[in-house]
Symmetry: D2
């Protein structure tokens, strides 16, 4: 039984923390302390209670010691692992990020990664992460750092920029959905029911705009099966998580029509939910208006929906905490605990992860954050070399990579002109005139100013 200390920054999380606490309770061979830190202290305490509850269930394989810290320093001190999953600012700012651009005909489905929303969110988040990086350098320089916060790319970029020796990477489950979709493709063609971990995919790109260039099950190439599948479902759509129209109820779902359309055009499979993919491309391809969005069968995740969902969730957690609902231990499809175990020497794991480019994507700028497969084992994460993306896809990915580099340089140097240039160049802004872009940018800054550094204020 290996003992570890794991610091959880954003430990009051209402969603992801719970998935993780379940997986932790079910992990064999490891135990130790989970140090919860959150600016919402009550939320952290609630999670502590629930964590204790989960560990006490008879199915639990291991007993973790949950502790809540009021400041970040003691939470980090001596940690072997740091998990980071925060919401920068509040749903009010997120509402501005996502919905303000609608007045300019810019419809965002998520708004936390790219587009005007992603850029404003980055302006709030990078300075926080600069501080996190300095704290980690001081209090647990040898810790492995798993980031789950969005914007994933610039969070990981900031950590490595401030503390180059940091052992940090970013984890995202979007690729897993594409793998589940491929399981359905396999089953449709052969009747074989595989799990996503039995599917091997070559993955390259950036977070939420990742692409699968090869997929196989055993020694079977899945792309020919996918060609067949699309002939059948390309128009009607297919949802790997349920009914094809469930996106009407649940705006996290989609019918994968965009994914299939892209595959037909480029020969590579977008490896994120359709609602993420569309935000990286020309707005008039999939996001022109409500009619087009409906035709392609995905939904925009409104902040109102998120607020409602959170409230439902808080009630549910309260019910669990008070014993009104009996918690049930359930392993997830996530890889965080598997990664931790592989790093501790419990066997090798190959999975997709966000890391600085050290050559895993040849032809892309070194140091930029990319998402590819990597081997996790014995205290090491080693990325694998990716194959070539189709030229037009490479072109779209590079556009974002360089725009992210521009944005990052702008935020790092607190150079508002450069940040605005990145804003202006974002593909979702491409129908704005330069003046309109300035106007929208100013409004979004104004809306969120209480969470922007003073030196970010508008001149």
């Amino acid at each position: 039984m290996k003992r570890i200390k794991l610091a959880y920054i954003g430990g009051g999380s209402k969603e992801w923390a719970h998935v993780f606490m379940n997986d932790l309770a079910l992990s064999e061979g490891i135990t130790g302390e989970i140090a919860l830190y959150d600016i919402d202290l009550l939320a952290a305490k609630r999670n502590q209670e629930i964590g204790d509850l989960l560990c006490g269930l008879p199915e639990a394989k291991t007993k973790w010691e949950y502790r809540v810290y009021e400041t970040i320093e003691p939470a980090l001190r001596g940690a072997d692992f740091v998990v980071m999953s925060i919401l920068p600012a509040t749903f009010k700012e997120m509402a501005s990020d996502v919905h303000e651009p609608e007045a300019y005909g810019i419809y965002q489905t998520v708004g936390d990664t790219t587009g005007p929303g992603g850029i404003l969110r980055s302006m709030r988040t990078v300075p926080i992460y600069e501080e996190f990086a300095r704290k980690i350098k001081e209090f647990c320089p040898d810790a492995w750092v798993l980031n789950f916060t969005n914007p994933m790319n610039l969070c990981v970029r900031t950590l490595h920029d401030v503390f180059p020796e940091i052992k940090a990477f970013g984890c995202c489950h979007e690729v897993f959905h594409a793998q589940n979709f491929l399981c359905d493709v396999l089953e449709e063609a052969t009747g074989i029911k595989a799990t996503r971990r039995e599917i091997t995919t070559d993955v390259a790109g950036i977070n939420h705009f990742t692409w699968i260039t090869k997929a196989s099950y055993q020694n079977m190439d899945l792309f020919p099966l996918l060609d067949e599948f699309i002939l059948k479902y390309g128009e009607t759509g297919h949802n790997e998580r349920g009914e094809v129209d469930s996106f009407l109820e649940n705006p996290f779902h989609s019918a994968n029509k965009v994914k299939m359309d892209l595959y037909r055009r480029y020969g590579a499979l977008g490896a994120a939910g359709d609602r993420h993919l569309v935000e990286f491309m020309r707005p008039d391809w999939y996001l022109r208006d409500a009619e087009m969005i409906k035709r392609f069968k995905f939904a925009r995740t409104s902040v109102a929906y998120r607020i409602e969902k959170r409230e439902r969730r808080i009630r549910e957690l309260e019910d669990i905490r008070r014993g009104r609902i009996k918690p049930e231990l359930k392993g997830s499809d996530e890889e965080a605990v598997a990664m931790i175990k592989a790093l501790l020497g419990f066997g090798k794991l190959v999975t997709n992860v966000n890391l600085p480019n050290v050559g895993q994507m040849p032809g892309y700028p070194l140091g930029a954050i990319v998402e590819t497969n990597a081997v996790f084992s014995d205290g090491k994460v080693t990325p694998v070399v990716t194959g070539e993306l189709p030229k037009p896809v490479k072109n779209m990915v590079l556009t974002h990579v360089y725009n992210l580099e521009t944005l990052f340089e702008g935020i790092k140097k607190r150079d508002l002109d450069l940040i605005f240039t990145a804003f202006l160049h974002d593909p979702l802004c491409l129908k704005l005139s330069i003046e309109e872009a300035k106007e929208l940018f100013r409004k979004m800054m104004e809306n969120t100013k209480s969470y922007l550094e003073p030196n970010f204020s508008i001149n």
Copy 2:
């Protein structure tokens, strides 16, 4: 006196040939044969007569022997130099290239390089250049080939792809205008009247979307002077070729307001006419509508204007030929003869030129055609290493480089789907839905089908 044979493909040209014939007549130290070939035989013969006329003038420094060939092979055989300057198809096809997209809100100022017009023109031109390359390989493999035809980039790309040992490069005078503009900047600040050849500029990019990252006169950096100049003329504009509003009469002119706007934003100077620069960027930045175009003080060069200009020119040539106008020898600002002389050993020349990237633009794909400075001397053209473009500019240039590579692959393989993908990805098409893009592409193919290869026909 060195004797050479120079084959002129497109030797019936009504504009550029005359500039060149003037420069040839004024060149010292070289003489020989000018072999004119054109599918318009009469035009070639007319140029022969005028060429002879020019060489007979008392100011002429050298006497060239002009010959007209009815087929290309004997024109090329044994040539030391080949100059290529053709119009692929007719003004009818050009009218479709430039104006058909207007129905979709796409306003092109030139339409021969990028955008929907550039793509259709490329589809007509690349197959012709494949044939030219094969002929050169057969009849004059050691010749230096100077290309002036647009689309410059894919013409040069095709020549090198079909015949990798070819000594071909592409020449364009757009950078010269930017240098003349810089002369005005220098004079404004210091009173010094310099010529553009006394200005040194670091040049990087692709044809018609080239950028100056440094400019100096003697040991004086011109960019600080440019900053001052823009404070003064940024709003009103400035035309290095005459009155600031002359673009209203002459659609080849502009007031450089775009150039100055870009410089302010990026810190590098676009080194082509504003009407070229705008076509490479977001349409809503400078090309949204007539009002915006007028505000930025440049003009769209309509094909009607070109037709009228040509007719005027033909009349003028006829007048010269018949002795009604006395021709006057006048050296131009062009570099073609200077390049030829440098290659023959008459001193070194450093100028901008289109060549495959062999490292002159580090970080850009090798083999793609780029425009940078190069040293011409003694049978060699050697590009110089360029400095870094500002990140957002690099991003825009790379977008075009990869889209050109996609387009070239599509045309080379006669893969209409891939060509359409390049069309869809062109920045000027970015407000089209996928269906609209298909519709426009089909129309433009239909309009120009008599000049498209049968295997390019629409399925």
Copy 3:
């Protein structure tokens, strides 16, 4: 149970085939045909008999159908896997390779990879592999090809050069010995008895001159333990396979004194037997003379020893075949069957392998064959990105990489001058004057001329 056809080129092998046949008999989940082909038909038949015998043992987990083919084509036709393990020419030629240079003060310990011996062996082997590649392209283009023949590097280089789509890689167990050595290091420091597969090593370099830049067991870094280990054993030596002086009896053994000396100097661990490592470096560092060789506690593997060993082995095989010795099934430390199973979808495997550089060794020429870790799974082999080698080690590796590229180009073009240049530049030849190098090269060609192509004959 998956059925495969595996063609074994060099199927009369007396050593490696037997290791492999044992592993095959013990492999679960796969079965099928083993197609033996060898120019020594009798040897192949003998192996067939022994293969059948092994599969008949009660411990066997699977039953393979061994078949002998008199020609290569039907052996290859339809194969899923091809294993290649041949001896190019005979021990007579090998004796010239290894021992002729001794007259010039060049002492080779192995003589099959680098040095004068490696070069002459390459000249015999590359043409054979050109033919193999063409046959594979014709008869089983989709087969996975596992090469075990030396010179490993140029065998794999040739296969990919002749048939670029080939799914070929090279396997070598030398790294495994270094891993076993690290197991001893771990045990010495901690008492933990691990197997080499529980050790994770970052591997980079070329075959037989591979380097470990990081090694860990669980989350423990092994290099600090190695520092300690060398303080203790650096002078006396340590043999991971037995007594420290066993190299006196068995010239395949060593005391790892070279390996430890190199680690002390460069901070990276040579990941091949000392007898291989020394051949890639300056001869006067470890190979100056018998005294120095003895002091560093390794041995030269003479061809006389190999001949004697083979004879002993033939008698032993005869005893098995005639039932005088009862064969015993014993799994090996090799990875060949594990690789095959991973490719067929039986789980992932990360191991070192020789492949063309597609970016796994950034800064080294693309296309050159390098040895690094790779992930094997579901019909794919994907190399991982390696870390930086220490500068002086990188320098030595690059020297060999470029000299191998020179040698390969020379053999491919049948350009004897270029081959000689590679010979002259080989580090083991570095004490020869140009004339002496020519003389030795001519002698070695003369000695082996019956196995050299006529176009390789001496002028």
Copy 4:
């Protein structure tokens, strides 16, 4: 008339300063102050007197104001140009550098760039240059810095490492000799008498181990003429500076037999004197012993010869100063003044120069100092992209580049182990055992210890 201030560090130089002062006196269009600084104050004063004398001659085109400074700071303050040409330490240390290794069979012909001598000289020089770089940063950060001191490579490397914005490059005339040699080749074949400036050469490599991959006169390729020339003179030799055997008297001369031998083997022409080239290659190719050196017709430049030459020179200078010899103004073949004038805007110059690799040698490490052609004009030096060196030559150049990087890192970090590793890896040391190398290194450190930093002392 442009006025400049030029600081001359090492302004007491007895040789190069005089060449330079002649060229300065003959330069039109520029004038100003020459600030002489030297730790040998008397020598600087002597040069001042001679400089004044030269400027007073009737043939002088310009009058410079020579001033002597006792400290470096005022000499540098406000300088537009800095020329650096020093002798690190004295001939006593140089004697150790050059001759101590002879006891180990290592014969150096120059001993100031590579080999054991070059390494020890680097250990003395780099710390001095670190200080120079800091002074330039402080007192004249915008100055152009022309370095002439050896070891050229690490002097320029140090300047750029300490002060990355420095405008420094290194100048060497060795390539000019190769160009003069090519003039003889041209004349032999065609009777044309050209000067080296009329020859165009493509140059790539590192200082004193530079290679010409193409050479032309007008549009004539000189390499076919060189093939002919070598058939005739390859054995007997040819000296572009006089009698073929003049090397017997003047150890700076040679018969170019090495150069021709290398060209025959590699197809590229070594562009430095034979005595430099041989030091970069295997010692047993050209430097094995006196007999071999004599056979290849070059000489070792002993320090005794240098001392004698200097004494002769001092007497000669004294004679000039005292009016016993009448000085005569004579323009040299050097480029320093031409470079300065081109930087000031007096026309373009293309010449070879040592600069950090920013892409001019693709495939070589960025930041390493390389020698290639560059365009000088209007306040800029822009390197041209070089062609590929033949693989075996590239291999030799890369070996030195990486060993220089190792050496530089060692000196920068004052890491004696790493410096020794570079020493051990130097090709001239390759016949030493590791112990012998240590012994020689220690002796050479001991011999020169009064000029080594204390932290470089032997432990």
